[in-house]
Amino acid sequence: MKLTEHDLRRLYQESTSSADCPAEDLLLRAARGELNRREREEVAAHIAGCSACARFYQVAYAMRPLADEADASGRARRPWLPLAAAAALLLMIPILIWSALRIQHDAATIASLRERVRAASRTPPPPVKREEKPATTTIAELTPPQIDTPIVDLDPDPTRSTNDRGATPITLTPTSNVFTLILHLDDPIRGNVHVSIEDSLKNEVWKGSWNAPAGTTSITLTLHRERFPAGTYRVKVKEQWYRFRVEGGGQ
């Protein structure tokens, strides 16, 4: 069989079609040469196998002068644009010069400051003279007997709440720095017991443990007012919570 190139083209074009064509915008951009390399390859591959898009591209390519000329006429419709650009440039020049000078000035200032910092760091600071006195007060002397110490009985709080309402109030006296809690247990305990205290924000402020003898039904806890300033606290003992509120305490 003999085929002319015209026949070959027709045969090829008849056999190529695609349902997955790119958007017309992409083909228009291809015709205007606005695609990047990857897009160009993809569009060329598609056009090679799709006669409809090939025809669209051909028409779009042929009509490129329309877009180019319209762009040019758009620019021509704004004759003031070059003048505006020149004016903007003239305005920019002094600003740029001023900026450059400012940068130079700043650089000089920074260099000067750096030099001063270097010079200062080379000179060691004079030693601080401290008058150190030997400790003359013992802990025992600091903790004299205290009168009128508050002692408060606390029962487990089933609500486990952290707010003020329902918390047992403890009013501190001026003659005492400490107060004592007696935590009554629901059931007798024995062995190692962990005790912790947290504030109203649920921050743990203290924790400790104690080896309880058999048959223990309550725990006594003495706290210093400076460690527990005014506020609401919760004590946790073996999954039981006790709530109290310090009033007028602290420093």
């Binding site: 003999k2 090679a48 025809r55 591209y57 028409v59 319209a70």
Partner: protein, 187 residues
């Protein structure tokens, strides 16, 4: 532009672009397909009118008009092609025995089953031959067979015109050799 009435905007746009649009359509609409240039122009005007009527802000009128001109022309080409396909048994001009034979195979809706099978086999051979070509030569030949000019291929692929020409000619040469091996002579 938005402060103007649609009519005056339309007139103004037409004044600016009509001559250019007409020249481009006249220059690029294939006359062999029997397209009525005035119809295409009228169609383009109508589309432009609808566009302006919708009160769109034409920030980039060049882009809009370019799109209108392209889509209007391509629609006209498609319509004419569809009409020609319906009329083809009487209307196709012959280009030699083989061409008449092929044209008949391609377009005659009443063609014989063996002709359909023969055309299908021919297509498969062409495709198989194309598949053996070096990648760039194959792409160049495929685009050439789609009817793209060397300039269009170069513009699309980003190749230089010289490279495109080489790829097309060498690719076609390779294709002819392969087809000859399959018993198909190409001129």
């Amino acid at each position: 532009m938005s402060s103007l009435e649609p009519e005056s905007r339309y007139e103004r746009l037409l004044e600016q672009y009509e001559l250019l649009l007409r020249a481009v359509i006249r220059r690029h609409c294939p006359p062999s397909l029997g397209i009525d240039v005035h119809d295409v122009e009228q169609d383009a005007r109508l589309r432009l009118w609808k566009l302006v009527e919708r009160e769109k802000e034409l920030d980039d009128p060049a882009s809009y008009l370019y799109r209108i001109a392209v889509t209007t022309t391509i629609d006209a080409v498609r319509r004419v092609l569809a009409r020609k396909e319906e009329q083809l048994p009487d209307g196709e001009s012959a280009q030699g025995e083989a061409s008449r034979e092929l044209s008949g195979m391609v377009t005659d809706p009443n063609e014989a089953p063996d002709a359909v099978a023969q055309r299908r086999e021919l297509m498969m051979k062409v495709r198989a031959a194309l598949a053996t070509l070096i990648r760039n030569r194959r792409r160049a030949v495929e685009l050439h067979l789609q009817g793209l000019t060397l300039g269009e291929i170069a513009h699309l692929t980003g190749w230089s015109e010289g490279k495109t020409r080489n790829l097309v000619y060498r690719g076609l040469s390779d294709l002819r050799v392969k087809l000859r091996q399959e018993g198909i002579d190409t001129q």
